[in-house]
Structure formats: structure tokens, C-alpha cells
Amino acid sequence: MLKITVNDAPQTVPAGTTVEALLGLLGLQPRFLAVELNRRVIPRGEHRQARLADGDQIEIVTLVGGG
């Protein structure tokens, strides 16, 4: 198992989990999301290949109302 953080909250996921799989585990549709892995954006097209490692810090963001 891997210990990671998602938006600063600790999470445990199986070894070999990809970004795509992580979104699935969290029940999120990737449609309006962007993912940052250790401060680097992972483009949508790379979610399937990008594998997580122990200690990874993930940010998952979306768009909200703003000025």
C-alpha cells in the first residue's frame, strides 16, 4: 500500500495505482478536473500512465465562481 496525500488529506491506495485509478477510487469524474502530482500538472492524456509512489502529494482542483 502507498501512503499519499490528496488535497492535504492522508490517503492509502494500493501499490501501482495510477492517477486515473485514484480518481475512480475517489468517485470523481475527470471531466472538469485538473490533477497536480508533486506540484507538476499531469495532463488528462497521461492519467492512465501516471503511477503514484509512496509519499506523493496530489492536488485535485476544479473551477468555481470567481471574479
Binding site: 490528496v6 488535497n7 488529506a9 475517489l26 470523481l28 475527470p30 471531466r31 472538469f32 478536473l33 485538473a34 490533477v35 497536480e36 506540484r39 500538472v41 495532463p43 488528462r44 492536488e59 485535485i60 482542483v61 476544479t62 473551477l63 468555481v64 465562481g65 470567481g66 471574479g67
Partner: protein
């Protein structure tokens, strides 16, 4: 419609028919926001980038309420207090807009704030972030103060548009220092009369928008003045008309200010000629 109102606002790779850019924050409902955006006639609407709420059950996303074929989304870096946070936020916004195929993926409204009480920009960090984002291929629209020297620095750093605040964000105080805006306009347009200058922040009501346009600004960006008005839909229409009225007036050329009166009616032919 007059040629002045038909001329497009060119912001980097974007050509806009409306000179009013409106925000999407603070609306009571997404439906009210939708109506106000339509009434405002804006082509460009701003949004913010925030963490996905992993526990939220409603599942409603603002993008479900925005016609992505009609509007160009301008993502902001609101709430960032360092250049590093702002650059990361800009890249995340670009990733979302690239994924949905919106032309707003090319640009960002850069805000790097200096303090929570005033929400005034940190000019040093804003300049640093502008350089980094321009190098990364962004068209950077810079929120800044009305300081002409900072404005010139941001332009030199490659900002697509410099956007001085009329007054602090959400304060509704209008344009507090029109002379500084005038100097910003003079400096920024010195070598390129078409360089776009947009008043961003502080608008309280329609006359503030008209005034900004009369000064010679190319556009106005606002959010709270519509979203928090007692009747947001009516205010959205007022802002649209004020933007057009101000632009027309700016091009019409106003009369000079004089201390004493000049009669509009003939001074001769009065039934009781007299002198006071």
C-alpha cells in the same frame, strides 16, 4: 450600431465584441448567474481554481451552467499570495480549459495578493509571476494597482493587458484616482495605442464603468457590482449600457470644463432685456 461600438477588443489571440468582462462569483444560484451573464452581453467570464471538494454530494459544477461554445473562460489566480502559488494555479486552470477545449486555455487573469485586508496586489510577486507565465506561453492579464510605474514594468515583462484596480476588490468605491488611471493609459499606450488597458476591481455601479471607459480604458472587469446588487439582472443590463455609453462618449470627445457658465439659449431677443 456605431463603428466605435463594433470595433473589437483585441486581447492577445482573443477578439471580443463586448468590452465588459464579468465574474461568476457570489451569485445566489447558478441559474441567476447564467441569466446575468447573458444579459451583460459579455464574451469573457472569469472563474477561480479551487480544490475539488472530495465529500461534496451535489456534484454540480459551474461548467455545467456555462455554454463553453459561447463564452471564453478567463481563469484567475485569486487568493494566491505568492508567485509560486499563482503560477501553479494558472497551470491547473489551463489544464482544465485545455481538456474541455475552451479557448481560455491560452490566458490567465493573474492576481498575486499582498494582504487579506485590502486584497491589494503584491507588485513584486506579480511581476515575478508575470515573467514566469509569459515564459511558459501564457497570455497574462495582470491585475495591479493604479501605479503607473508598476503598470509599465508589467507591460515590459510581456503582459498581454495591464488591469489597474479602480479601488480595492469588492469595495464598490469606483475609480478613486482617475489621474493615475490617466497616466497608466498614457504610459501603456505610448508605443502602441492599441495596447489594452482594463479597469479591474472596485466598480460599484454603472457610472463607474462609464467613467472608466470615458477615461479611455479599453474594457472593464467586474463581478460583485452585479452579483451582489439588489437586482443583479437589472444591474447586468445597466453595466452593459454604461460600458457602451462610456466608450461612445470617450470617442465623441467631451467639452472642456470651465469655471463659469456659457448660455445654451440665445442671449438676445429677450422680452425684458436686462443685465444682472
Amino acid at each position: 450600431m456605431s463603428a466605435v461600438l463594433e470595433s473589437l477588443l483585441v486581447l492577445g489571440s482573443h477578439q471580443l465584441s463586448s468590452r465588459l468582462i464579468v465574474g461568476t462569483g457570489k451569485y445566489a444560484t447558478f441559474e441567476l448567474m447564467q441569466e446575468c451573464l447573458a444579459i451583460s452581453g459579455s464574451d469573457v467570464i472569469t472563474v477561480a481554481v479551487r480544490r475539488e471538494r472530495l465529500m461534496d454530494a451535489s456534484g454540480r459544477n459551474i461548467l455545467d451552467f456555462i455554454d463553453l461554445d459561447r463564452y471564453t473562460i478567463l481563469p484567475n489566480t485569486a487568493g494566491c499570495f505568492t508567485a509560486d502559488e499563482a503560477v501553479r494555479t494558472a497551470r491547473l486552470g489551463r489544464e482544465i480549459l485545455s481538456s474541455v477545449g475552451n479557448p481560455g486555455a491560452s490566458w490567465v487573469k493573474l492576481e498575486v495578493l499582498g494582504d487579506k485586508k485590502t486584497l491589494l496586489p503584491d507588485p513584486v510577486a506579480t511581476l515575478e509571476a508575470t515573467r514566469e507565465l509569459v515564459a511558459d506561453g501564457f497570455e497574462v492579464l495582470c491585475y495591479t494597482t493604479d501605479d503607473p510605474i508598476t503598470a509599465r514594468r508589467l507591460q515590459e515583462a510581456g503582459a498581454t493587458s495591464v488591469m489597474p484596480a479602480g479601488s480595492p476588490i469588492g469595495s464598490g468605491q469606483g475609480i478613486l484616482n482617475p489621474n493615475n488611471i490617466r497616466i497608466c493609459l498614457e504610459y501603456l499606450k505610448e508605443n502602441d495605442p492599441n495596447y489594452p488597458v482594463i479597469v479591474d476591481a472596485g466598480v460599484g455601479t454603472a457610472s463607474d464603468v462609464a467613467f472608466a471607459m470615458e477615461l479611455g480604458c479599453d474594457g472593464v472587469l467586474l463581478n460583485t457590482a452585479i452579483a451582489s446588487a439588489q437586482d443583479p439582472k437589472r444591474m447586468a443590463e445597466a453595466m452593459k449600457l454604461a460600458c457602451q455609453a462610456g466608450r461612445l462618449a470617450s470617442h465623441a470627445g467631451r467639452i472642456p470644463r470651465k469655471l463659469y457658465a456659457t448660455a445654451s439659449s440665445p442671449e438676445t431677443g429677450l422680452i425684458s432685456p436686462g443685465v444682472r
